[in-house]
């Protein structure tokens, strides 16, 4: 079977990146449309946000399967069927969830030597395996690196790791788009269809 395409879409808050990702997937994916949600309903705002995204999907003409997966994407692999179109939303939330994994034991992942690096490699590996089965994997993330250097060490480490992941994803991706106010700017490939 042909490898599914990997698509990276990044944009600012409310830039329309999820809608663009959904439309792209509807136009290009062969099988089921599967939404991989990373948000955790930890407070009222998050619950509202999740409800909003669910409503948006329910209002669409096509149907979606939803997989709730805040972290560890390798666990998604057995749930994927041949030809599925996957939408993973989003890497910023995934990274925050993985960074604080194990916090209840007093030592979150980002304070354990090499922990986060391992999780990043596992993420890239899982995405690569997904494209072996799915017809398309669309990965959504946020543009949050265009502001003054963050003040706390945690947020600095987060920003640095996010930039690193984005660079790796763009390098792996067949297509890469930056969303700005609802308008997609295609960075990769630069020319052609």
């Amino acid at each position: 079977m042909v490898r599914g395409r990997l698509v990276f879409i990044s944009g600012g808050v409310r830039s329309g990146k999820t809608a663009f990702a959904e439309n792209w997937l509807c136009a290009h994916a062969a099988g089921r449309r599967v939404y991989v949600a990373t948000g955790r309903p930890i407070d009222r705002e998050m619950r509202e946000r999740i409800r909003h995204h669910r409503q948006d999907r329910a209002a669409r003409p096509e149907s979606w399967e939803t997989i709730e997966r805040p972290a560890d994407f390798s666990g998604i692999l057995p749930m994927i069927r041949e030809g599925d179109g996957l939408l993973i939303d989003c890497i910023t939330t995934w990274l925050a969830n993985e960074m604080y994994e194990g916090i209840e034991s007093g030592l979150p992942c980002h304070r354990r030597q090499g922990c986060l690096e391992e999780k990043v490699e596992a993420l890239l590996c899982a995405l690569s395996e997904m494209t072996g089965k799915a017809s398309a994997v669309v990965v959504v993330s946020n543009e949050v690196l265009d502001e003054p250097l963050p003040a706390t060490a945690d947020i600095r480490a987060y920003s640095e790791m996010l930039g690193h992941i984005h660079q790796r994803l763009v390098s792996m991706a067949d297509l890469a788009y930056e969303m700005d106010a609802g308008i997609p700017l295609r960075w990769k490939p630069e020319n052609g269809k």
Partner: protein
């Protein structure tokens, strides 16, 4: 002058380093300095201006004067300036960060105006803006 711009951790330095791999370069990492050196006559890369301005200046006029003294002394055909876009986030709560953001924004506008080439780097990919 060739200016590269992009967000933090987008691979700007790496991109420039690779592009200039065969050349002898005076690489000025201004963030570590308390004053800018004299540019040499060959290939010069100036980076880290945001941190430099943040720790050494409080006034926009003197900040820009300081940076452009360096830029004007360099060979314009062989000067590369790497700047980080810090103007797209939420307005910072701390007044010095707000000052820095404004000063860097105006610095960038002037750099773009005077540059022969402007390239934007987005996670390791490049797009020519000018």
């Amino acid at each position: 002058m060739h200016v590269y711009i992009g967000g933090a951790h987008n691979g700007k330095r790496e991109y420039v380093r690779t592009a200039l791999a065969d050349e002898k370069v005076q690489w000025v990492e201004a963030g570590d300095l308390s004053r800018l050196p004299k540019p040499e006559s060959g290939r010069v890369v100036l980076a880290g201006l945001e941190a430099y301005l943040s720790s050494n200046h409080r006034d926009e006029e003197s900040a820009l004067k300081d940076v452009f003294r360096f830029i004007e002394a360099a060979d314009q055909d062989r000067l590369v300036v790497i700047v980080t876009d810090i103007g797209r986030g939420i307005v910072p709560a701390d007044p010095h960060s707000r000052w820095l953001r404004d000063t860097c924004g105006r610095l960038n506008q002037r750099l773009f105006r005077e540059a022969g080439r402007v390239t934007r780097i987005w996670y390791g990919l490049a797009k020519e803006l000018k």
